[in-house]
């Protein structure tokens, strides 16, 4: 994981939850909310939680902007590139549409090594085959003009996830990794399911669901 890491993926693949978990576990200084696609479940909603872990959230300068149906980003989102003491996780919007924002950082990435990780949940219909994953990678790289440097295995069926599901997902991701030549960096596993007597590809990240609401 580089000092600056972007998270991309299909809609609903779990990018935002992972951004928050990684920020806390990996002690990042900043989470940058670049999700201009979806007005709900954005990392900017977890400002208080992240603050308690000394993580700052950057998005826009909009007064009451947290809920604005406005794709505004503020100039502040460039700060981690200019201040080398900052470790930052950038949470992009879904798909190649969300990855469109990467364009805005192209010039900065020339001098600063960055990671761009693709979050994959094989139980999302749109990324349930290796061909689909490859297609998504091609689209995101073409739109964002940045190479994807790793995969994050986020196999889950929310609360109904079983260990069998996880192993199935690991097999899938290993296959995808082989065909795309992109390493599996992390495997995300809900804390309650751990420990599991099985060797998952990449580092296992014990996961807490922060967006849990009373109705799911």
């Amino acid at each position: 994981m580089n000092r600056i890491t972007f998270l991309t993926g299909y809609y609903g693949s779990g990018k935002t939850e992972i951004a928050i978990n990684l920020a806390i576990i990996k002690r990042a200084n900043v989470v940058v909310d670049l999700d201009v696609i979806n007005p709900y479940f954005r990392s900017r909603e977890q400002v208080a939680l992240l603050k308690s872990h000394q993580v700052e959230v950057l998005s826009n300068q909009l007064k009451d902007g947290m809920y604005a149906d406005l794709p505004f980003i503020g100039g502040e989102v460039y700060r981690p590139f200019l201040d080398e003491s900052i470790t930052a996780i950038y949470d992009l919007g879904g798909n190649d549409l969300g990855a469109k924002l990467l364009q805005q950082f192209g010039d900065y990435c020339v001098n600063t090594p960055v990671d761009l990780f693709l979050v994959v949940n094989p139980f999302r219909m749109e990324t349930s085959s290796v061909e689909q994953v490859i297609k998504l990678i091609t689209k995101i790289e073409a739109t964002g003009q940045i190479e994807i440097t790793g995969l994050i295995n986020n196999t889950n069926l929310l609360k109904e996830t079983t260990v069998e599901n996880l192993i199935e997902g690991d097999t899938f991701l290993r296959q995808a990794s082989k065909e795309t030549n992109k390493a599996i960096v992390y495997t995300i596993i809900e804390k309650s399911l751990l420990p599991i007597d099985y060797t998952f590809a990449g580092e296992v990240i014990p996961f807490t669901r922060y967006f849990q609401t009373s109705w799911n």
């Binding site: 201009v36 794709p71 980003i73 364009q103 805005q104 010039d107």
Partner: protein, 249 residues
């Protein structure tokens, strides 16, 4: 310490919320400066529309109303008719003005409503996240035209100024842009003239300003200025469409 540069008194102290590289900020500044230079701030009521500039009522340092999507010119008409000596302007994007609000805008122009319309055309829907606008270019990919705008399916980009040039009630109409200092100076001249004509009660005035949207275009800010010049200006040529000329008592 001598003040070399200062934010225009035509704008409030609120920080602009527009994305890096977006030219809304420049247009705001020009409108604010013109109102100040003409001494119009105490008389002015601005109409914020729906779109990225929905919060413009927080930025212009005058009385403001926020209008429903597309209805800015109707709201402006309502105010101007009861306050004929005040200065009324609308600040609208291409979705607001040229799509949902085209009827309100055309009829305000046709009645010769003595108002000024600042029309910011960036060929995309910014606020809702990059969907196709009535002014999106042929071939332009947006979130609702993922295969590019197709003539046979979506029609061609609507040329608002060309259309409004045919309307008798229009007293002044010019298309400008703000991509270079020279263009910015021209844009300011146009905006100022529009407000002056309104002061002289000469009818409907509009300035169309070609603008950028780096985030939704998916282009770096500097490149987006180039993209505007290379792609938008050929479709929307910069031009003075209508000017009723020097004022004669």
């Amino acid at each position: 310490m001598a003040v070399k540069y200062q934010k225009s008194a035509g704008l409030t102290d609120n920080a602009l919320t527009y994305c890096p590289g977006c030219t809304h900020g420049i247009v705001h500044k020009l409108v604010g400066e013109c109102l100040v230079e003409l001494g119009l701030l105490p008389d002015t009521i601005g109409i914020a529309s729906v779109g990225c500039s929905v919060f413009s009522y927080d930025f212009f340092n005058c009385d403001m109303q926020q209008a429903p999507h597309g209805r800015a010119c109707a709201v402006a008409t309502g105010i101007k008719r009861v306050l004929p000596d005040n200065i009324i302007f609308t600040y609208q994007g291409d979705g607001d003005l040229a799509s949902i609000g085209i009827a309100e805008t055309i009829h305000a122009a046709n009645r010769g409503e003595n108002i000024t319309v600042i029309f910011v055309n960036n060929a995309i829907y910014g606020m809702t996240g990059g969907q196709m606008a009535p002014t999106s270019l042929i071939g332009q990919k947006t979130t609702t035209s993922p295969f590019g705008r197709v003539l046979q399916q979506h029609g061609s980009p609507i040329k608002v100024s060309e259309m409004f040039a045919t309307i008798d009630g229009v007293a002044y109409l010019e298309r400008v842009t703000v991509t270079t200092p020279k263009h910015i100076r021209n844009a300011k001249k146009a905006i100022k003239k529009a407000f002056q004509y309104q002061q002289e009660k000469r009818g409907f005035t509009m300035v169309e300003i070609l603008s950028t949207c780096p985030v939704n275009w998916g282009i770096k800010p500097v490149d987006s200025l180039k993209w505007l010049e290379e792609h938008m200006i050929p479709v929307f040529p910069l031009k003075l469409f209508k000017d009723t000329g020097e004022f004669h008592e």
